[in-house]
Symmetry: none
Subunit: 135 residues, 4 copies
Amino acid sequence: MPENDHKLAVNLDSPIAVYVQIENLIQFEIVSGRYKAKDSLPSVREMSETLGLNPNTITKAYRDLEIMGVVSTRRGVGVSVTDKALKVCEGRIRAMVTAHLREAVSECLATGMSGADIRKIVSDTIESGLMPYRP
Amino acid sequence: MPENDHKLAVNLDSPIAVYVQIENLIQFEIVSGRYKAKDSLPSVREMSETLGLNPNTITKAYRDLEIMGVVSTRRGVGVSVTDKALKVCEGRIRAMVTAHLREAVSECLATGMSGADIRKIVSDTIESGLMPYRP
Amino acid sequence: MPENDHKLAVNLDSPIAVYVQIENLIQFEIVSGRYKAKDSLPSVREMSETLGLNPNTITKAYRDLEIMGVVSTRRGVGVSVTDKALKVCEGRIRAMVTAHLREAVSECLATGMSGADIRKIVSDTIESGLMPYRP
Amino acid sequence: MPENDHKLAVNLDSPIAVYVQIENLIQFEIVSGRYKAKDSLPSVREMSETLGLNPNTITKAYRDLEIMGVVSTRRGVGVSVTDKALKVCEGRIRAMVTAHLREAVSECLATGMSGADIRKIVSDTIESGLMPYRP
DNA sequence: GTGGTCTAGACCACG
DNA sequence: GTGGTCTAGACCACA
């Protein structure tokens, strides 16, 4: 039962800094095609209210994304996805998730879990549907 | 190519706190059977020198493990694995790595990666051998 | 009468953001050789007290410098100049000051100032001694 | 190569506020004699369309210039250069560009650039012709 | 002691 | 309304 009205969410208990989670979330949205070049991102204030975070935290994420070349910000106008964003994000994100997957499998092996068990968990997760990125 | 001279290693650049990495490392060693009940752990000083970390960091990890009931420390004697350590760690670690694996697969799906691609990476990693836990 | 005990200073009235001024100041110190590879920078707290600024402002500057590869920060240890800092800064700063000089001369020309007058001001400033960078 | 079709231009990426850039641009035009007493300035709407800026930005610049006594606005008539504009601007702008020039030279000295190198850049720029003010 | 993150809230530049 | 900067002050991870 996939939830279609896709919503961004951060995990405050994660050891990963919230602003980094937001950067990743947005990059996932871009890679998955939900944000396209020239699309506007939610304003800092809107995003901060949606996520229940301080505007400064959003600002920090947006600023990093700007340095990466993923978004472009203009005072009084807003923040929008750059033309090269997809290219930039695709490489970064693909490499990141592949590394995470390899690490996760290695962890499982390190506990003595069998290859068959690992494959079963993987298949179950794949079949349980397209889960949104949850940091 | 079996895992000879298995060594603990922490990743200072990881967003995961070093003391958490150490706690996990030791639990992995227990789950995988390299540390057994009543085994002594390296002293705080030895561990800190081996890993190049501040003794306080090791102390904090050992204290947390003691609270979890995984190790017991006795002044003048040292730190040793408790009898119930395996039982405690097995559940925790198994749950952790399973969760990590599901998250990693979900991340891959979120980028639009196909199930076949994911399974291929998983199989490759499984076949590349038993990699040590690397946080 | 040059002032030898060289001190960093920022201009709060400048249209240039304070944290950018700090980034420039430190890069000047590196280019001019007053900071060398592996030198420690003043701690965030110390710098903030010296300059009368909020620690967050210093943190922002240090973070940008880290992204640029000019400094390296380690928790609990401090911030130090990287080995490649001089190379990185030299290009950036040299280009920046040259551009500023050209712009300043162009401005003078645009007001109708004569080449001779411009050269006189330049010579006077050169001869008035090595002034510290004042943003 | 005389400066034909001289055009005002602002730099949106400059740390200098756009309305300040416009104020300076107009004062440069006055000092250089391209705008004389009683000349009309472009209307707010025309200026905003020419420069692709929000009319509010132009309005703010014109208002500041009026406060300085450089222009006078009359409802239904427009904005025109005052009789004392040249006198007012000349001092302000001359002081500003001189200060910029001194600062730029100081910056160069601070990087360790030699007086000869500085003089060479200055001469090159002077000889490359009368560049328009570019903020 | 060090740096890192986050919040709350202010003021500014711009549309 | 938009984003940008800065302050004040809190808590955490680490040495």
